[in-house]
């Protein structure tokens, strides 16, 4: 995160596993934008996210952040630019929450064995933004899965990346925290000038808070654009294999997805 604006370009990336293929996919994003990747399970969302992070090399195409090819960067410089947070299991070792979040500063420690006062400031900042300050001395093992997810987000924010990639960040959060997390991401993407790409199942949150949506199905990108353009009832009904209805959220006017139930 710096004062300048960042530009992410995903150009024609594809990948083939023995039983699954991610077809050539492209998109772009700029600082301040939140992109949501949506689609049914097994559609290639997580593979796409991993390629965008630079950790998985595409078999064709490339990913550049401000003209730097992410896959070619060594681990530490890459971790200074890209923060990737996925589903994590809570482990056997008992860390305090603040220690856990502090791990996010690792890429910035350089030759030093210890954190600097500036590192500690960013840790405090990340914990304050995710409302974890009160948990600082608690053990990670004692947290609920939702609280733990906020800690993982805090750790990613502490990295101060230019590109924030989140895989199902709201999976265990109640609706209040879900909305809060997405709003926070949006706010921070603008204030800290990073690009956020979020894989999510929350279609309505994506509709409200993402600038662009990418709909994946079986490894192909079926639609890309605003919520209006992507959240089409026939398309969604086909992709999610269930009748879906799209109306409007009365307070925001954004498309709202609900499923069709037969009258009781």
């Amino acid at each position: 995160m710096t004062e300048s604006l960042h530009h992410l370009r995903v150009e024609g990336v594809s990948f083939r596993y023995p039983h699954f293929e991610l077809a050539s996919t492209s998109f772009e994003a700029h600082s301040g934008e939140v992109l949501a990747i949506i689609g049914p399970n097994g559609s290639g969302k997580s593979t796409l996210l991993e390629i965008v992070s630079g950790h998985l090399g595409p078999q064709a195409g490339k990913v550049t952040l401000d003209s730097a090819d992410l896959h070619r960067l060594p681990p530490r410089p890459l971790a200074r630019l890209v923060g990737l947070a996925r589903q994590e299991t809570i482990l056997l070792f008992s860390f305090e929450v603040r220690e856990f979040v502090r791990q996010g500063r690792h890429p910035h420690l350089g030759r030093s064995l210890f954190e600097s006062p500036e590192d500690e400031r960013w840790v405090d900042w990340a914990m304050e933004k995710t409302r974890l300050a009160e948990f600082a001395g608690r053990r990670v093992l004692e947290m609920s899965s939702g609280e733990f997810q906020r800690a993982v987000l805090a750790r990613t924010l502490a990295q101060r990346p230019q590109l924030v990639l989140l895989d199902e960040p709201t999976a265990n959060l109640d609706i209040g925290y879900q909305i809060e997390m997405f709003r926070l991401l949006r706010q921070l993407a603008i204030s800290e000038r990073f690009i956020a790409v979020v894989v999510t199942h929350e279609l309505n949150l994506a509709s409200e808070l993402a600038d662009e949506l990418i709909l994946m199905e079986r490894g192909r990108c079926l639609a890309k654009g605003t919520a209006e353009e992507v959240l089409q009832p026939e398309l969604l009904s086909r992709v999610f294999r269930t009748p879906i209805l799209v109306d409007r959220n009365p307070s925001s006017g954004r498309p709202r997805v609900t499923w069709v139930t037969a009258p009781h």
């Binding site: 681990p75 530490r76 971790a79 070792f93 008992s94 860390f95 791990q103 890429p107 990295q159």
Partner: protein, 333 residues
Amino acid sequence: MTLPATPRNVMAVALAMSLLLVLVVLVSLTLGAVHVPLSQVWRALTARGGGSEAAIIVLDIRLPRILLAILVGAALSVAGTGLQALLRNPLADPYVLGISSGAAVGAIFALWLGGRIASASPLAAFIGAMITMLWVYLLGRSGGRLASYTLILAGVITASFLSAIILFMLTLLSTRDVRGIAFWLMGDLSVTPLAELRLLAPVVILAIAGLYLLAKDLNVLLLGAEEAAHLGVNVARVEAAVYILASLLTGLAVSTSGAIGYLGLLVPHLGRMLVGNDHRMLLPTAALGGAILLVLSDTLARTALAPSELPVGAVTAVAGAPVFIYLLRKTAG
């Protein structure tokens, strides 16, 4: 309890434990089959004892042993800490990957060949340990790195196979040799002359220092290999370095003084209970704590049934098992 790992805290803890170690060493020098009063110990250490009987006991008999106990205690405890991080398992100990079995095979093989080779059995043990380290490394690699599940499997299978070889070889040895080897297998700090310590000390200190440089990477490694990679750790390289350094420390310890048990498993645990999981604080705590505990165990081994000696491994086992059971109950409950 977690003590934040700041340079000041780390130095404070290291200093406090070092002072404790010095105290324990001084007391241990007075104890034994012959009681040497502290004043004479002091005179001997400051080279004013001349050729007195007390000076000989202190300098030629007890001090080398105590110094060896410090090195071996620190080596095993640090190796255990490193392996627990590498395997992401607080139950790992330095012997789980077969190193001690490899050393034992080397030592027994040398004894069996007899003659001059027999007297070089520490070297043979070390060679056995290093061959085992290489073998388990090659066997345990998966996808270009040391994935913990394949590494543990490779180590356990190798250890088990080597144990069978050891039993077979024991049948080929004379009864006298078998008694000697049994003593060694349980841990014996009495055999190393001061000259060998001069070789041992720098290597142990350098290996521990090497692991300390990896301390912040070890912290991140505990989160998981993928998460560590996402935070900028070169996982394959760090895993290989930790494996080699921990195996080297274990190999050195076992070659010089046999398979002393429980230290490598318990000291890291006790260290975690005292100062937390941050390796920048834990490694020095484990090293000094292991040194202190092994000096105390060895002193007990020398004095409990004086003038005869218990093998120090028996003391660590008898003392260690109840502590381990207590820790187990505490974490389970």
